[in-house]
Symmetry: C2
Subunit: 333 residues, 2 copies
């Protein structure tokens, strides 16, 4: 049924070892033999058995990507980019939805799928920094998102403080003075870090920061953004701008503003973070921080594979993803 190495060897008239040598690019092989073997491989449509290979070599060429949820556009786009980047290098990505459950995250961290995967790219949401720091993973791990101080893992992320500073400063530059922030309480550290940049920008512009304008919400989805925006509109003195810590929150906020009959950016300007496709097509289109997702994917995979290959004696890597501020209609009607 299944073709195996010995079948190929038989057909090519060589030994099993030689076929294996061809496949694994052993240096000393005549082009003739190589050709014969490759012909046989093609003829029989031979595919090495991944299980057997991985069992013997201890390498599977599979990596895992653990994200909170793949139905969330940012993570979907990220997952797509990472899959592509990995495929380019002959690596397969296994996507793990943690659904923000600490249990699932822990499982991913130490379970590691029965030694199948060679390493993991982890975008935590629940797991506390300390826990991650302690986790003694057998396999290489690259961390996405906010940095966890004291962690000893490689790390790839945008400079959230600076990006948030830029986003807020942009709102100030178009004349807004009462600027709210939505999402200050969410994500593993994300809320805290982005708030830092937000406050810094207010301070730099000589604006007081009003605690009533900082909304935590319960999550990072459209409905959380919509709910937070409703709270803001209910204030005695509503804001004239909102910086939402991700695009989904912003889209939810826009919905609430539309329902309230307010004009964007006329009455309230809105900025998001992530640059997901929905935001580009929304009317009004969404001004947002746009991290270079291809760069992120490429480098996260690169760093992980370096580590797997054992070029890991080197220090912990800490890469900063380039980003731009995409100014669109929601601040520039």
């Amino acid at each position: 049924m299944t073709t195996r190495l010995s079948d190929v060897a038989a057909r090519a008239g060589v030994s099993v070892k030689t076929v294996s040598n061809v496949i694994n690019d052993y240096p000393h092989i005549t082009s003739q033999t190589r050709a014969k073997v490759e012909a046989a491989i093609a003829a029989l449509d031979y595919k090495p058995n991944v299980s057997a290979r991985s069992l013997r070599k201890g390498r599977s060429d599979f990596i895992a990507l653990a994200i909170p949820e793949m139905a969330s556009p940012y993570f979907a786009e990220l997952g797509a980019a990472i899959s592509r980047a990995a495929k380019r290098r002959g690596i397969t990505v296994l996507i793990d939805q943690t659904e923000g459950e600490a249990a699932a995250e822990k499982l991913v961290l130490d379970g590691m799928r029965g030694q199948l995967i060679d390493g993991i790219i982890f975008s935590p949401i629940t797991t506390a920094p300390a826990k991650i720091g302690l986790a003694d993973t057998a396999k290489p791990l690259v961390l996405l998102g906010e940095r966890h101080p004291g962690g000893h893992f490689d790390h790839v992320a945008v400079d959230s403080v600076q990006a948030s500073f830029d986003a807020t400063t942009h709102l100030i530059s178009i004349g807004r003075r009462r600027i709210a922030a939505i999402g200050v309480g969410g994500g593993a550290g994300t809320g805290t870090v982005r708030r830092k940049g937000y406050r810094k920008a207010l301070k730099a512009a000589g604006l007081e920061h009003d605690p009533a304008l900082e909304l935590a919400g319960t999550g990072y989805h459209r409905d959380d953004g919509a709910a937070s925006m409703r709270e803001l509109l209910a204030l005695p003195e509503p804001p004239d701008a909102v910086f939402c810590f991700n695009d989904l929150l912003a889209l939810g906020a826009l919905r609430t503003l539309a329902d309230a009959g307010l004009s964007v950016p006329g009455d309230v300007a809105v900025v998001g973070f992530d640059d997901i496709e929905d935001g580009r097509y929304h009317s009004p289109s969404l001004t947002t921080i746009s991290p270079d997702k291809e760069w992120l994917a490429e480098n996260a995979v690169g760093v992980l594979l370096d580590r797997i290959a054992g070029n890991g004696a080197a220090d912990r890597r800490d890469l900063t993803v380039p980003y731009t501020l995409q100014i669109r209609e929601s601040t520039n009607g």
Copy 2:
């Protein structure tokens, strides 16, 4: 480094096979032995090696899901649902992005990842029906999307003709008479089938169908929808309603309408297909056909696992996914 079965056996003072028996729920084991073994497993934090198990058993408990692109919201939501459904049964899903390339689809079909995966759920976009019919896959395969006549695979999908009929009839029922269709040329058969339902509804209502109102476009994304809508608006006699064959097309169309300063549904009513989250939050929110994705996921996985388990002598299964028409602002302002 890695704990293996023999380590557990040594610690529990039994044979390797006995440990294996405990793990695999072999019937005849004393509760004493079982307890000892389980204690040892817990103490050593033993995790079976997936590769070895799969090599020996010929089963990996991995299935693949091949979709055109995971960054597309519908597929992202579907992938999330299928992953969850599989996880509930202890199965891991490997997601394959074919990016609509025939080559990639073929690869998925016969490559089958070196015998690792036990079966595949395939949502084709390029691969011609005939090809699929011929593909002699070694592993069980469940097909999503439009049915391919003559295929010998299990199949799970909504009744697109009926759903499209309903969508179009809804537009007629709110008084529209000049109803366009966007997406008639796309997807592996999708465009054709949905157009069928669309035309059927027009006919049932005694309306002529105008070929100028049927736009093929080049794809199924927002920009395709936006472009098609621009074409429609440029007509001497533009439509008063549009049925878009998926939600992304509809969202693109809405964007064009907003740019043109037209009101929805006042000037033009819009219906989509898929019920992705973006559509629910858009303003105006999008009327759409809402397939029960949980049902779809649950059943696609179920059928595939039945087949893998060998309960497959039975005839080809052909399941129809329940759907509802979600009436929202884009037709009911």
